[in-house]
Symmetry: C2
Subunit: 367 residues, 2 copies
């Protein structure tokens, strides 16, 4: 671990006061903002996330708001996912690609109305791409970053906690749908979504002033449910196969390489900027793809640079995220593997900073 | 200070091994990359920077490379600075603005040839804006992030150190000019520039493989000059009035508000996207502007959020960067102040987290 020098450039959030009071011990920086990553320890936070409920300050999932008559057209230009069937009230996970088919971001997109959308972004300034395209095409839209800070409630007891604060009707929300729920005299967008596979919600807080009241209301209401402050958990997200933009994929990668082909309707996504570039890979498939990889031996260190994956003396891939899983008793990891060696059961060698490790390609992720 | 959770997403650099060996104690994150900020202490590093010579890993100053027949046209679209007189071999500091005149970045731009430019960026993904504009306008250019990692040599003894490694001819480089200098069998772009006012150079290393040889050569050659590893120093940069994008200015601000009007030729920068929006402010001047502000009393803490600047009960500005200056015996700071109170000598009150402080607007920055 290293010390982080704080400055205004690494933005605080409407919940930072609560995060500090809860004893945060580790941050990362995400979209020029502080993202709490650790409270007690990665392992303790992991066990708790999988058994109780946590409140996560994910304000760093900044929104790119697209508003105006051309909003729908613009959002379709960004993604190979076919949006014609998407209704207001729905959230879609969308690969965003450039003209070469390279991934620029992998947000969840919230369709508020036909002409108003929020793109809830991963760690890159997607605002700049969307503004550039809107300007270059002279589209009739407004594009900006509104004052919206998501707060996630994740874990098996998330429904019970949310019902305490927002009423029982919140339980009826379907996966990747949102509704409007009252808090502090305001209507908030609340979606059933989140960056874990333990179940839960994301609350899109508009206006920072309600930040601490909302944080405190959730912490208070959750006492009997053993609520704690938490954050996206490295171990749980790898077990769950949840990719991280900048870690597991970059603009070098197509969605198909990332195993996101199911979110691409390349044949019918008319208007998508990267469509031409993706037609061939959509038909023939990629030559390398994301795979779950289990590594034997003692807990591995954090991945700070890609670890080469070898088949004998031949490099056939790289590990981008890895952690020891207490629940599965093995080092779980996310790797990009060439098609010659990506079948489940393939045995490979990962060159970690601590030396080579035996590894095996798994059929599917753990959660 | 907080702990930083390391991951592949916060990229290491070709010099990270040297930085670690030199005993780095603090990082920030800049363009998704580690930027070393502290070695011994901010104060010790400051005194040393002003008296000797330091080697800085500023790889995080990523390049946006623009190549092709439309390269010059595209770069002019990005900035209100008139580029018609710029020659290959020159570096220009350039405000980059969007269609509303808001600052998107404030890079140094290196004109390698008529059709090849490097934009050496501050902390925002300017690549996305440049790619979006190039695509929207169907320009005949290639835009990408090349494998180029700047290394800065800063301090009063920088000339002597550079001459040891690159030969005496490096001393003849004029300010904001670059030349090609041999190292390890390759020709490197070396410019007289850098993010301090202590004098020095920036070496644009192409290809990471030469990173540690270059780092080690500078450290070895500098033994007699008391060379140390360093980084952009908070105290020195405030004394020098060097702005930091994301701290002192954002896309809310025009270049004129940031005191960068002298880098804008709004009347003649034909093709600049933000030109129309800036014409009025260029003529009439802004209603608020960056000012040096001296605060009395004990050393202030780090600025993590804007500190309001008050004239009585009226808010007339905000402080975005501040530190205690040992050399000037006062808290130096960078503030945005409304025109009613921006004259030198104006006495104001800054609301710091430790309570209100008396402050006075200075005529100019300290270095």
């Amino acid at each position: 671990m290293a010390q982080l020098s704080l400055s205004r450039r690494l933005r605080r959030t409407p919940f930072t006061e609560g995060v500090l009071a809860a004893g945060v011990t580790g941050y990362t920086v995400y979209n020029h903002m502080l993202l709490p990553t650790v409270f007690r320890s990665v392992e303790e936070d992991y066990h708790h996330l999988k058994s109780a409920v946590q409140v996560w300050d994910v304000s760093c999932q900044r929104q790119v708001e697209v508003r105006g008559p051309d909003a729908g057209r613009l959002v379709q230009m960004l993604t190979p996912r076919d949006l014609r069937g998407m209704l207001p009230g729905q959230c879609y996970y969308m690969p965003i690609v450039d003209e070469t088919g390279g991934m620029l971001n992998d947000p969840v997109v919230v369709k508020l109305t036909e002409d108003r959308w929020w793109i809830s972004i991963a760690d890159s300034d997607l605002l700049y791409w969307v503004k550039g395209i809107a300007y270059g095409y002279r589209l009739d839209v407004l594009v900006d970053e509104p004052d919206v800070s998501p707060l996630a409630v994740q874990g098996p007891r998330a429904d019970d906690l949310m019902a305490e604060v927002f009423g029982d009707s919140v339980r009826d929300l379907r996966f990747f749908r949102f509704g409007l729920f009252g808090f502090g005299g305001r209507q908030l967008v609340v979606a059933r979504s989140g960056y874990s596979k333990q179940g839960g919600y994301e609350i899109y807080l508009e206006g920072g002033d309600l930040g601490m009241p909302l944080w405190s209301a959730l912490i208070e209401a959750g006492r009997a449910l053993d609520v704690r402050a938490g954050g996206p958990n490295l171990i749980e997200r790898i077990e769950s196969g949840l990719l991280s933009y900048g870690n597991d994929m970059t603009d070098d990668n197509t969605p198909h390489e990332c195993g996101l082909g199911r979110f691409c309707n390349t044949a019918t996504a008319i208007g998508c900027i990267g469509r031409d570039a993706l037609l061939r890979v959509a038909k023939e498939g990629p030559v390398q793809q994301i795979r779950p990889l289990a590594m034997s031996g003692a807990p591995v260190p954090a991945v700070e640079e890609f670890w080469p994956v070898m088949a004998g003396h031949r490099k056939v891939g790289r590990v981008s995220s890895a952690a020891f899983s207490p629940d599965f008793g093995v080092n779980v990891s996310i790797a990009m593997i060439r098609m010659t060696h990506w079948d489940a059961g393939a045995t490979l060698t990962v060159m970690t900073p601590d030396g080579p490790r035996e590894a095996v390609v798994k059929e599917k992720f753990w959660n």
